[in-house]
Subunit: 517 residues, 2 copies
């Protein structure tokens, strides 16, 4: 059976065999159709929009009164999206979109089989306006700028959707549902809503729970009647991407205590279980994102994602993605590298290079020490790939911030780190990270390794799950309403904790017994 | 209080005093607004469309979080149509439209006071395509013709709406609700739906219960978000105009038995009470409409609407509308005239001129006898106004058809004419008719005169009532669903009844005791 016919979806195909009109039953065409759909659906709130309504008499006669109605649950009623001659060999598709500030990922799903056909990621074209959210918000208040930001994104999406459709030999009109998750500002820019008040006290989004839209309202080049589910935000600093993450992690339904960490410029942390959910966020600094360290890059071919250093010989062994000659390092590779440098004694517990241990690899450029990670003859660029003292310092500040945030929130909730049964790490970053290295650095608590679960792009996963399931769609609003967001006070106490965390792994070594051993 | 705030309307103004956002309550603007409206409305299904949603942050701040929300009940939820700074001095308007095949009437209503401001009537511009419905249906199947028929009507409506607004010094954007009733074909042509199957077996309309539309969907030049309520049809031959008529008559809620007759080319008859409603229709011939008899016209200045003949002297006294010199006669005047001719002995019981009683008024033109009603020197045209034998014959056929339909339906239902407590006559025709004259002719049964109620344009009245009241709007769907429509078999029995009714007042004089006396 076509999975579009299954009852758990909020986008559904309903086959209807209507009795043809006769003198004895001269019900009007549209009323006949709606009655038939309501019977098949076992729900009596079905509505049809005008342009399709006009086509009903022709379609009913063309298809001989046997028809397949494609519907979606609009919340207040079911809406007829389109009509087809048959449900059984209906091939229709959906898109899940992770609207990241820097990278956008689109997942094409076959709604008839629920198979993921392809994920495609591309730079958010709004980077052209500014790489960070704040620049875009400030830009948006200029005349015409909001439209510009929206159309940059929508046009790029349309381009990628059209390529996706071409590669899979499908029509864009066969894409009949879209689900999109992003942070609050990205959600606003996608919808063409002014983010002006998001960054100004008291930090008010235009909307936190946008209703379903039709794709035609946004100009998205899929079926014009396709519903677009936009994930709800908790507030200005806690967006739909994280709600999607919580959905993807399953933590909101679990009995045991879980944590979800999404690391970027901001570290967002959710902690809780099926009874309660508390969230907070704090600045972690950009050190964990690609493109910050001098050799830093986003994950891609030739980017180093794993490093091992033989503590005896001091020999480096690096693994680059797709085994291309190395050209740079990504966030997770950087964590590996710095952890290995510490274990090999090449940096000390403050993260400073230990010159005598780095023999032959250390050089000074403009008064700043650099460690050669890959020599020019072995690199994909022909130049040395180096790590500077300031790169390490930035990473230490970031890992200290991360750990301080975790300490602060758990202390505030009177929860011990040991009570955490699952530590979910979200983000592309999280899918590559070696928890052991992150523990070695003291970035994350010293819990049994099996506690850690790298979940990859949870925003995309969550968007994909909500695309296919009515229960999951309902769940995101419940999750949203359940979250208690707490502001972290960056006070003297926080700064003290932060200072103590700026050592590798920590001033208080007893917190990291596995590193000591 | 502004009547828009009253709870019985389906278009309502709801005042909201929202608490301004703060760090303690940083609910998003739209969520805050909807929460406030839901509180004021005491109903929690409120939705807002995208273009207005975008303007919410600006409007909330401009109006200082004190705001008046204009809403309408969409059936599944309440929809926010617009936002204003205050509800109390809000002046908003509605339109009720009677979409007649030949004449369209638009009523402007002040929604704040529920006062009728003006009725304006004009020829249906679709007359340019064809005066009758069938011609328009056949025309509609040509390429582009459906759009043409629709835009003829919509553009003319827009012209008249703009003039109405100008005369009352209001903005068309202040017109925020529309209710329209018409026969099934007119309803289709107004909505741009193909009426092709309406006149072809088994006579299937596109839709009988159209959902609310937004005016922007039809291109009606009022507030673009204004809801348009289009009256439901029972079927191809029983339209929303009659549902509006039943609503206007109040018969569907009455304990006693009533009849509603709408006379045109078709005579439509509804009979029933709060327990049951049966409807039928039959061809009555065009004799009762203006423009058929040689001197026939639609009601207007100088048109004769009352005639008295002194049985002794044979002197005619005529009353013309607005006391202008007579130029023609309307349907109700014609009934008066022929009834008076009969009572004066100038025609016999078969409707034939009695030459010796018509002395000096009878002349023969082309072998056909004509009676001079108004001599040239007294008429507004300078020519004699005459009534021909064939005009009388046509009227006799029409009145016989009318009476036969009434006899057939009451017989079928086993109801005696005497059981009818109220005999409602709908239509402009009905508002001028003298029931005594119609009884004299044997067109309507010989019931006490107070039984007859001329209701005027019930389609317009019904549309106006449904515009203002949620209960009345609900009632039209209940009325529609309650009606049992019966086909009248034009068989030998019917033809026998028809032949018997072709006498004045009837072959069976005992049916009309008041005429005999």
């Amino acid at each position: 059976m076509n999975r579009l016919q299954e009852h758990d979806g909020w986008v559904r195909a309903v086959p209807c065999e209507l009795s043809p009109p006769s003198l004895k039953d001269n019900t009007a065409d549209v009323d006949r159709l709606l009655r038939g759909i309501e019977k098949g659906l076992q729900d009596d709130g079905v509505a049809i929009r005008f342009p399709l309504l006009k086509r009903v008499p022709g379609l009913l006669r063309e298809y001989g009164y046997k028809i397949c109605a494609l519907l979606y649950d609009e919340g207040h009623c079911w809406r007829v999206m389109d009509l087809y001659p048959t449900c059984s060999d209906l091939s229709l598709y959906g898109l899940a979109i992770d609207m990241g500030s820097s990278t956008v990922v689109v997942r094409l799903v076959d709604l008839s089989t629920r198979a993921i056909l392809e994920d495609v990621s591309f730079l958010n074209p709004q980077n052209e306006i500014g790489p960070d959210i704040l620049t875009r918000i400030l830009f948006a208040s200029q005349k015409g700028a909001l439209d510009r930001l929206q159309s940059l994104l929508v046009e790029k999406l349309n381009q990628e959707i059209s390529r996706l459709a071409e590669r899979h030999a499908i029509q864009t009109k066969a894409i009949v549902a879209v689900s999109a998750a992003g942070n609050t500002t990205m959600t606003h820019l996608f919808l063409g809503l002014d983010p002006y008040w998001i960054c100004r006290e008291p930090y008010i989004p235009v909307v936190n729970k946008p209703a379903l839209l039709r794709s035609a309202e946004l100009g998205l080049a899929v079926h014009p009647e396709a519903p677009i589910l936009v994930f709800p935000n908790v507030g200005s600093y806690f967006g739909g991407d994280l709600v999607a993450g919580i959905l993807a992690s399953g933590m909101a339904g679990a009995e045991e205590l879980s944590i979800l960490v999404d690391v970027g410029t901001n570290a967002e942390v959710v902690i809780g279980n099926r009874d309660w959910l508390v969230a907070c966020a704090g600045a972690a600094g950009p050190a964990l994102e690609g493109g910050v360290a001098s050799m830093g890059m986003m994950a891609g071919p030739g980017v180093i994602d794993m490093v091992r250093i033989d503590p005896g010989s001091g020999a480096f062994s690096v693994r680059a993605i797709e085994h291309e000659p190395p050209v740079g390092i990504c966030g997770s590779g950087l964590i590996d590298l710095v952890a290995q440098l510490f274990l090999a004694g090449m940096i000390d517990l403050r993260g400073k290079f230990v010159a005598e241990r780095c023999a032959g690899r250390l050089q000074e450029v403009g008064g700043m020490k650099h460690l050669i990670v890959v020599r020019g003859e072995d690199s994909g660029t022909g130049k040395d790939l180096t790590l500077s003292q300031s790169d390490i310092d930035a990473l230490i500040r970031s890992k200290a911030a991360m750990y301080t945030i975790l300490t602060t929130i758990t202390t505030m909730l009177n929860v011990s780190m040991k009570e955490i049964s699952r530590f979910n790490i979200a983000g592309t970053f999280g899918s590559y990270i070696d928890p052991q290295s992150a523990i070695t650095l003291g970035m994350i608590p010293d819990l049994p390794l099996e506690t850690y679960r790298p979940l990859g792009n949870t925003s995309l996963t969550g968007a994909g799950v909500a695309l296919l399931s009515a229960a999951a769609r309902d769940e995101i609003y419940r999750i949203r309403d359940r979250i208690t967001y707490v502001e972290l006070n960056v006070n003297q106490e926080f700064m003290n904790l932060f200072s103590a965390a700026k050592f590798i792994p920590h001033t208080d070594k007893s917190l990291f017994p596995s590193v000591q051993s």
